[in-house]
Symmetry: C2
Subunit: 165 residues, 2 copies
DNA sequence: CCATAATCGGACAATAAATATCCGAAATAG
DNA sequence: CTATTTCGGATATTTATTGTCCGATTATGG
């Protein structure tokens, strides 16, 4: 039970992109430089976001990434599943079918109490993350940062942002 | 985000132990044989449960494992943390302190919106698992199994169970 | 239109974690 | 006391994560 750190990076990148006006974006190298993380690995996470349809891309000289839909419609769950895949965390090996008292497959049509309990916990986890969109995150970050820092970020974005059609 | 399969095995073993009367237990080899899983690896999980204080052990000729407290006071969360450790799934690298717009450590005293959201989701997950004890699991399994299967299990337990002081 | 430069995309190693196994330490029975 | 049986921690093997590289694709500018 360990969430890959690529999820954190992708979340940060998405929040940063959400601060840009519609139609503008950043290239992968700039996103990596902003947080001083390894460039190629940051790019890999962005590719995952792209395949999941969370960001749109443009290749070539003026390429880069921008959000594919409004920030309010992108939740942390979307980002996490884009990076980690959406298979459930608790994988059932059906060991109750093994051994001297193994149950028959017919008896295992519905999943047992253990699997059901973990599934319920995962649902709670998912719904909690689905309730938070990039808009809430960005608002929280802005509220916690001093005015001066926000100006710095704004200036940096203005310098690095590119138009993406 | 993947729950180790040792958790499933440990949960099954604990449920099986909860079916025994107080003061009786099973040895690791029997627990492994019951589900046809690799013996040494099953033993490793039982050691983790032992260190966490969930089961009591006895070594020597009539050794084995038995629950250390009533089944109603052992939750799935207890078992999962015993196997996987209790560190939080989302590990924060504090990358907001890096890069051209890095925040100072003073600005990072309280954790940011991203980390807070993941923490809240983990709390929801934990509370869901903490609400389920071995008693509920055992009742669910019993309700789903035909009478004949339960008799088989009972006979097997009677044959394998040992007294543990 | 074509060569060029810059960017994303997927294939490729290095590292860390989970999985499976072994042998020694401890305790009971006789 | 000694033999036997069991748990306990240290040890290999396999799998997933982390990090890196080079080729495919697109706009630019002559
Ligand atoms: S469904 Fe339940 S009983 Fe069957 S293998 Fe999974 S956890 Fe065990
Ligand atoms: S606390 Fe928040 S801002 Fe800081 S590194 Fe973690 S996720 Fe990023």
């Amino acid at each position: 039970m360990q969430i890959s750190k690529g999820v954190e990076w992708a979340a940060h990148a998405a929040v940063l992109l959400s601060a840009l006006p519609t139609g503008r974006g950043l290239k992968a190298e700039a996103l990596a430089r902003y947080h001083s993380v390894p460039g190629p690995y940051m790019a890999k996470q962005m590719q995952a976001l792209s395949k999941a349809g969370i960001v749109q891309t443009a290749r070539g000289k003026h390429g880069g990434y921008r959000l594919a839909r409004p920030a309010g419609e992108i939740t942390l769950w979307d980002i996490m599943t884009a990076i980690e895949g959406s298979k459930s965390a608790f994988t059932c090996t059906e060991i109750r079918q093994n051994g001297p008292c193994g149950a028959t497959p017919e008896q295992c049509r519905k999943k047992c109490a253990i699997a059901a309990a973990f599934h319920a916990a995962e649902v709670a986890f998912r719904e909690s993350l689905q309730a938070i969109s990039l808009v809430e995150i960005a608002a929280g970050v802005a509220a916690d940062s001093p005015r001066k820092h926000l100006r710095n970020v704004g200036a940096w974005l203005e310098k690095e942002a590119v138009a993406i059609g």
